[in-house]
Symmetry: C2
Subunit: 338 residues, 2 copies
């Protein structure tokens, strides 16, 4: 049974296991520093489909199908899939998973989807409400760019603070037992809005949410950043990462020695033209479900915090002059069940 500590944190005493995982990414991601870690690299952005939205659905389904295959179970053994994406009405997930025959819980946490889905699914496993549960999420540079910003053909200039939406997907199968790592603690994020209005600076909009969730986690658990091998954010990028470290320093928390960001890990930011780094819920999903979980498997990581961050605005809310609310959900991953 889980038990709550402090105001925001949930301890999962039976520590649900990551049984298997997989990732599928686009060409640019496959040319980056993590290229040897992905299960599948698609050579073209349309992945042979007639639209970018369909390509994104295909990658999501591909990542999930590979994760299921590696689990050794059939799709019909999976009790639920917790999935979402950035597209309006979550169509990458809905169309990608409509033929898979698994009960579907649709989520929307913007780029925080991977830690949101891991949070909910691990509670289901912990509670014995599911024997096997899947988490999956995706994003696609082209489908996101035209939905949130400009038509690609417009060729708009990108601000130095802007990030590059990752084309990719990641999926995890959770079970009561498995090789791990194991999900041991969860801290759910509140919506935090510090008034940032710049759609080309999502890192700044999301960093305060990450800082809030992390402060709550450290307050609740009385752990210290040095207790972890890595404190991994989703897609704050170079700008948002600096802000997060500064915000936490004001709270007497120094994470500078442990902090990494999936958006920075994904690309060679200086040479791949991605400005502040990668973004999109496929960013943290595909980095977690490749390089990070591989490092656990290879014994190079033993305890990390994974805190994917999301910006909850829409083009409509921004056009109406609204600021950008952020959110961040935190998941503690351990190689050993303590």
């Amino acid at each position: 049974m889980p038990h709550r500590i402090g105001r925001y944190t949930l301890c999962l005493d039976s520590a649900p296991a990551i049984l298997s995982y997989a990732s599928a990414v686009g060409k640019k991601e496959g040319e980056g520093p993590l290229r040897h870690d992905f299960d599948k690299i698609y050579d073209d952005t349309s992945a042979g489909e007639t639209s970018w939205e369909k390509a994104e659905s295909l990658m999501l389904k591909d990542a999930l199908s590979r994760a299921i295959e590696k689990s050794g179970y059939s799709p019909s053994s999976i009790n639920y899939v917790f999935a979402g994406d950035l597209l309006n009405q979550g169509i990458a997930s809905a169309y990608g998973l409509r033929d898979i025959g698994i009960p579907f819980f649709g989520l929307y946490g913007a780029c925080s989807n991977m830690s949101l889905s891991l949070s909910l699914a691990s509670v289901y496993i912990e509670a014995n409400a599911a024997h096997l549960a899947a988490c999956a999420t995706s994003s696609h540079f082209c489908s996101a760019e035209r939905q949130f910003r400009f038509p690609l053909e417009y060729g708009g200039q990108r601000a130095p603070t802007a990030q590059w939406t990752v084309t990719g997907a990641g999926a995890v199968i959770l079970a009561q037992d498995g090789p791990g790592p194991f999900i041991t603690k969860l801290t759910g994020g509140k919506i935090i809005d510090m008034g940032v209005r710049d759609m080309a600076n999502m890192g700044a909009a999301m960093a305060p949410a990450a800082a809030d969730t992390m402060k709550n986690f450290f307050d609740d658990t009385r752990a210290a950043p040095a207790d972890y091998d890595m404190i991994l954010t989703g897609d704050l990028g170079l700008v948002g990462s600096r802000l997060l470290i500064e915000l936490l320093k004001k709270e007497n928390l120094d994470i500078s020695g442990q902090h990494e960001d999936c958006g920075v890990l994904m690309f060679d930011c200086e040479n791949q033209g991605v400005n502040s780094g990668g973004s999109g819920c496929g960013c943290s999903a595909s980095v977690l479900c490749s390089n990070i979980l591989n490092r656990f498997r290879d014994g190079k990581l033993s305890k990390i915090l994974f805190c994917a961050t999301g910006a909850l605005m829409s083009p409509t809310s921004s056009q109406q002059g609204e600021s950008i609310p952020g959110i961040a959900h935190l998941v503690e991953l351990c190689r050993e069940r303590s």
Copy 2:
């Protein structure tokens, strides 16, 4: 602890309680047959805000705030809010709840949001992962119409099969104990796509999903429709309701004596110009959180199935020629813990 029966159904042995609930609706809804049941009726569609999206956020926040107030707890006692809506990137929920200070799990199940949120939140309560959890969802005729269909100023003709998106919101507070009714069983829905492409006939797109989930529930539990006072769907409307009854008759399940639909209950369909009935996630939410739960309170209902249905398409997927996938999540509500 919960336990699974059959392939799709989860029994909640400790039966989480509905502690309190509230609804807030627009003027047209307040002129319908359920007008005496709502907590708040807004006289104008903008509710004093500068946009319909902001009005929807306000109604969502209003319903949730009223439900929290009736619970007797402060917002800071609520461990999580599970919320979502129909707008792109879920902005009605994100902006409506950004100041409330409760950890937020964003959902997207289209019009199935109310049973989706009840499903997830009740597992959290059952598992002791939360002491108090909130569920909230909303829709708004004007924000939905311009997002999914046409500018209101266009004055488009509506097909006879079309439904009228309800302006309204509903919210529930779940707890381990309370006056009830109690949530005793859950059946998660799969995505079902029978190839319906008509954006003006959502009832037809969603009815097969409701039929699939109900068949799974009755197969798993070996219950019969006659065991229930009411089998309540979300917003199939007149057309979708007839289809659901037909589809289930082919499976030797006759629900015609028990079936009601929130979209039909909400309006006087013949005289209020809503064609096939109400729709939108605010429809099932505000009908459940007013008339239906009041009838439980007054001893007029003792056991029902609540099965909200959603259509998972977007304008983009429809423009790309895609059919409309449906989904339906089922919740069993009982006045007494057995």
